[in-house]
C-alpha cells in the first residue's frame, strides 16, 4: 500500500494513487463533497483551473509539511499529498468564495434558460440553483455577441459561453489542426473560428457535448424540444469511424437527438463521430440497449409518465421492458 497516498476530504479519508488531483480523489469518494467543475473535463488533457468553481481549502498541506495552503486552490489542478486534509463543503470560506464565483459567472450570462436548448442539462443552471443568489446585483448591460454558425450543424451562441476552453481542448485532442480558439482578451474574449471558417471535422460535434452551457448547440436539435420531454435510450451501431455507443433521445417514436453517453459528472464516455450524431436519426439505424439511467436530481428524470408507459421502441422487446422496469423501480423507490 506504500504507493498510495491518503487524503482526507471533509473528514472522509480515501487512499488514491499519487498524482491524483483533489477533485478526482473527491470523485472516488463521491456524493455531496465532490466540488462542482465547469471547466475541468477528465477526458481532456490540460483542461481545468479556469472557472474556479471547484476551489477548496487545504487545511493541512501534507504529513511532511502540515502548513495549510495560503489561498483556496483549484481542486481540479492540485495534486494530493500524503496526509493532506481538504475542506470543501465544511468550510464556510469555500462556500462563500464559490458563491462568489457563481455570481461572477452569471453576471454576463444572458439567463435565457427558457429559450435555451441546454436548459435541463446545463451545468451552469445546476450550479446556479445550488449556489446562486436569488437576484442579481449586476445592474449594467450584459455583454452580447452575434450568433455564428461554425459548420452547418453547430451554432455558437457566445453570449452564453463561460470560456471554459473545453471545446478548444477537444479540438486539440481529437484533431491535428485546431481551427477555432479564443480571440481577444479579458471580458471581450470569444470563442471563434478564424474569419468564420467552419469547423470541418468528423468529430466536430463533440464540442456540443463538452460544452457545459448552451453556447454550442446542435442545429439539428435546436428548438425541437425541451430535453426533459425527451427520453434517453442507450444504443449502439457498428460505426467505422467511432465506437458507435450513443444515447438516443426519443420523443414518442422519433429520435430527436443523438449524443455521446455521459457519466454522472456529465462527461462523455467516448467521443462519437458526426455521422452517428447528425445523420443516423432512425430507430432502424441502431441496436437499442436499455433506458439510460438519469440521476434523480436531474429534471430529465422528473418526467416519469413515459417510463410507466414505455417508449414504443421498448414495448415490443421483453428484455428492454425488464430493463425499463428496473429503471422505474430505482426512481419510484427514491
Amino acid at each position: 500500500m506504500s504507493d498510495k497516498v491518503k487524503v482526507t476530504i471533509d473528514g472522509i479519508t480515501v487512499e488514491v494513487a499519487p498524482g491524483t488531483t483533489i477533485l478526482n480523489a473527491a470523485r472516488q469518494i463521491g456524493g455531496d463533497i465532490v466540488p462542482p467543475a465547469m471547466c475541468y473535463y477528465s477526458k481532456l488533457q490540460g483542461s481545468g483551473g479556469k472557472c474556479r468553481t471547484c476551489i477548496v481549502k487545504v487545511s493541512k498541506g501534507s504529513e511532511k509539511d502540515p502548513r495549510p495552503m495560503p489561498k483556496l486552490v483549484a481542486s481540479c489542478r492540485t495534486t494530493v499529498m500524503d496526509g493532506m486534509e481538504v475542506l470543501n463543503i465544511t468550510s464556510p470560506e469555500v462556500i462563500e468564495a464559490r458563491n462568489g464565483v457563481v455570481e461572477i459567472l452569471l453576471i454576463n450570462h444572458p439567463l435565457d434558460c427558457p429559450v435555451c436548448d441546454q436548459a435541463g442539462e446545463c451545468d451552469l443552471q445546476n450550479l446556479g440553483y445550488e449556489h446562486g443568489l436569488q437576484k442579481t446585483r449586476y445592474e449594467f448591460e450584459r455583454r452580447t455577441f452575434e450568433r455564428i454558425d461554425i459548420g452547418d450543424k453547430i451554432q455558437l451562441h457566445m453570449n452564453r459561453c463561460i470560456l471554459c476552453y473545453r471545446c478548444v481542448f477537444t479540438a486539440d485532442q481529437i484533431t491535428n489542426k485546431r481551427v477555432h480558439g479564443i480571440l481577444n482578451r479579458g471580458d471581450h474574449s470569444e470563442i471563434s473560428t478564424y474569419i468564420h471558417t467552419a469547423i470541418d471535422n468528423d468529430f466536430s460535434g463533440n464540442v456540443i457535448d463538452v460544452c457545459p452551457v448552451g453556447a454550442l448547440t446542435d442545429k439539428t436539435f435546436r428548438f425541437k424540444n425541451r430535453v426533459w420531454f425527451t427520453k434517453p435510450i442507450d444504443a449502439h451501431r457498428d460505426c467505422p469511424t467511432c465506437s458507435g455507443k450513443v444515447t438516443l433521445w426519443y420523443k414518442g417514436e422519433d429520435v430527436l437527438r443523438v449524443t455521446a453517453r455521459k457519466d454522472i459528472y456529465g462527461e462523455v464516455e467516448e467521443f462519437i463521430c458526426n455521422t452517428c450524431r447528425f445523420d443516423k436519426k432512425k430507430t432502424s439505424d441502431w441496436v437499442i440497449e436499455h433506458p439510460t439511467h438519469i440521476s434523480d436530481a436531474s429534471v430529465i428524470s422528473s418526467n416519469h409518465y413515459e417510463t410507466l408507459k414505455p417508449l414504443p421502441v421498448i414495448q415490443n422487446n421483453p428484455v428492454l421492458q425488464e430493463a425499463n422496469r428496473k429503471e422505474l423501480e430505482k426512481t419510484v423507490k427514491f
Binding site: G48, G49, L105, I107, Y138, I162
Partner: protein, 455 residues
C-alpha cells in the same frame, strides 16, 4: 549623496555605447565571473547579497536561482522580463534607454550562473526604441567578444535575443510571458509546475526583472557581502524608484533601501516636495497594484515611527495600515486629486488588461470598473461601496495569476482609507463632477487616523 550602483555613470555622455561603458568599468563583472568564479559561486554571491526581485514580488533572486532544476541534456533558459507595463513604473525603460549595457552585462553574468546558453530579453511591444537600443548594444557586445561563441576565451557560449511582446500587461506575469515567448496566447499557466522546473519550451527557466539582472553587476564587482551592507534589514542594496504624480521633480531615482519616505518626497536630493506648494493627500508606493495609502500613513507607521522605503517597512501593518514596495512605482497625489477617479482609472486598466482566462478576474474587473465609473460620475448608490468591497474580495486570491489580486487591492484599499470620499461622491452627485473632495483629514497625525484595528 547616497551610493549609486546602477545609475552611477548615468550622466556620462555616450554611456549607452559600448566604448564609453567599457571605459567606465563596464563588463568587469563578466570578466570576473567568467574567468575567476564558477557558476555556483556566482549564485552564492547573489544569495549572499540578499538581492530581492525588483519586479514586484520581492522574492530573493539567489534563492530563485538555486531552485532551478538542472537535469542532464536539457537546455536551461534565462528570460529577462522587460514587459514593464504597470501604471506608475518606468524604471526599466529608463535603464534600458540610457545604460543598455548594464542589462546586457547582467544578462551575461546571470546566464553564466544559471548555465543558460540562450537567453531572451522579452520587451514590451510599445518600447520599440528600447528594443532597437538593446539590439544595437547586443551587436556591440558581440563584436567585442562578450557574446557569442567562446566568450573571452573561457569556452562559455551565450546567444542573447531581444523579443518584442505585443504590449500586454499580462505578459509581465512570468508564465504568461513564457507562453507569449513561445508564440502562444499570453495566458498565465497554472502553477505548479513552476518555471524553474518546466518553463520555456518545457525546460527549466528563470525569469527575472531587468533591474534584478542589472543589479548582479555591482554584486559581482564588489562582492555579495559588500552589496548586502547597503540597505536595511532584509531589504538590501539600492532600488530604482519611478517617482511620478504631483511632485516637484518626478523621475527615476536610485535610492538606498531604508531611506525614509518623508526624505524621499521632500528632500531636494530626490523629489523636492509636492508641486505648486500643495499638500500631499495620498501615495501609491509601488505601482498601481499595491494598496493606496493616505498621507499620514505614508509618512508614518501606525505606531508613529517614520515609514521607510524598504520591503518590510512599507508592508508594516499588513493591508490595514500598510502597502508594498512592489516594483517601485511611486505615485504621489496632492490635495486636489480625486481618489475615486484614480481608483476608477486603475480599475479600468485592469479591466482592459485582464487576459480573460479565469472567471473571477475576467468578469469581476469589468464589474468593478462599471460601478466605479458610476460613482465617479454621480450616479452611484451608497450600497455600491460595499458592493465594490465584496466583489474585490471575491476576486482576490481566487484567480490563477496575481492580476486578480492586483486589480482587487487598489479598490479595496481606496475604500478602506478613503471611504468618506466615496460617500461624498454618492451624497453630492452634482457637486462631485466639478469639485474635489479635498484633503479632509488624510494628512493629519496618525492619532486621529481612521484605521486603528487590523481588519
Amino acid at each position: 549623496m547616497a551610493r549609486k550602483l546602477l545609475l552611477e555613470h548615468i550622466n556620462v555622455p555616450g554611456i549607452n555605447t559600448f566604448d564609453v561603458y567599457r571605459e567606465k568599468g563596464g563588463y568587469r563583472a563578466v570578466e570576473k565571473a567568467l574567468k575567476t568564479l564558477s557558476p555556483d559561486e556566482v549564485v552564492e554571491e547573489v544569495k549572499k547579497s540578499g538581492l530581492r526581485g525588483r519586479g514586484g514580488a520581492g522574492f530573493p533572486t539567489g534563492m530563485k536561482w538555486s531552485f532551478l532544476a538542472k537535469p542532464e541534456g536539457v537546455p536551461r533558459y534565462l528570460v529577462c522580463n522587460a514587459d514593464e507595463s504597470e501604471p506608475g513604473t518606468f524604471k526599466d525603460r529608463f535603464l534600458m534607454t540610457h545604460i543598455p549595457h548594464a542589462l546586457i552585462e547582467g544578462m551575461i553574468v546571470s546566464s553564466y550562473a544559471l548555465g543558460a546558453n540562450t537567453s531572451y530579453i522579452y520587451v514590451r511591444g510599445e518600447m520599440m526604441p528600447q528594443i532597437r537600443i538593446l539590439e544595437r548594444a547586443i551587436a556591440e557586445a558581440k563584436s567585442a567578444g562578450f557574446l557569442g561563441q567562446n566568450i573571452l576565451g573561457t569556452g562559455y557560449n551565450l546567444e542573447l535575443y531581444v523579443q518584442p511582446g505585443g504590449g500586454a500587461y499580462i505578459c509581465g506575469e512570468e508564465t504568461a510571458l513564457l507562453e507569449s515567448l513561445e508564440g502562444k496566447r499570453g495566458n498565465p499557466r497554472i502553477k505548479p509546475p513552476f518555471p524553474a522546473i518546466a518553463g520555456l519550451y518545457g525546460c527549466p527557466t528563470v525569469v527575472n526583472n531587468v533591474e534584478s539582472i542589472a543589479a548582479t553587476v555591482p554584486i559581482i564587482n564588489d562582492g555579495g557581502e559588500e552589496y548586502a551592507k547597503i540597505g536595511i534589514g532584509r531589504s538590501t542594496g539600492t532600488k530604482l524608484i519611478s517617482a511620478s504624480g504631483n511632485l516637484v521633480r518626478p523621475g527615476v531615482y536610485e535610492i538606498e533601501l531604508g531611506l525614509s519616505v518623508e526624505e524621499f518626497i521632500y528632500s531636494d536630493e530626490y523629489c523636492g516636495g509636492i508641486a505648486n506648494g500643495k499638500r500631499l493627500k495620498a501615495t501609491v508606493a509601488g505601482g498601481s497594484s499595491v494598496p493606496i495609502l493616505p498621507a499620514n500613513l505614508t509618512l508614518k507607521l501606525a505606531s508613529g515611527e517614520p515609514r521607510l522605503m524598504s520591503y518590510e517597512s512599507l508592508s508594516e501593518g499588513g493591508f490595514a495600515t500598510g502597502t508594498m514596495l512592489g516594483s517601485g512605482g511611486f505615485i504621489a497625489f496632492d490635495e486636489d486629486q480625486c481618489i475615486v477617479r484614480n481608483t476608477w482609472n486603475f480599475a479600468r486598466f485592469y479591466h482592459h488588461e485582464s487576459c480573460g482566462q479565469c472567471s473571477p478576474c475576467r468578469e469581476g474587473t469589468g464589474w468593478m470598473e462599471k460601478v466605479l465609473h458610476r460613482i465617479e460620475y454621480g450616479h452611484g448608490k451608497m450600497s455600491d461601496i460595499d458592493l465594490l468591497v465584496d466583489v474585490s474580495r471575491k476576486i482576490e486570491g481566487n484567480t490563477i495569476c496575481p492580476l486578480g489580486d492586483a486589480a482587487a487591492w487598489p479598490v479595496a484599499s481606496a475604500i478602506r482609507h478613503f471611504r468618506d470620499e466615496f460617500e461624498w461622491h454618492v451624497k453630492e452627485p452634482v457637486k462631485c463632477l466639478d469639485t474635489n473632495y479635498g484633503l479632509a483629514n488624510y494628512a493629519e497625525p496618525i492619532a486621529k487616523a481612521e484605521v486603528t484595528t487590523g481588519n
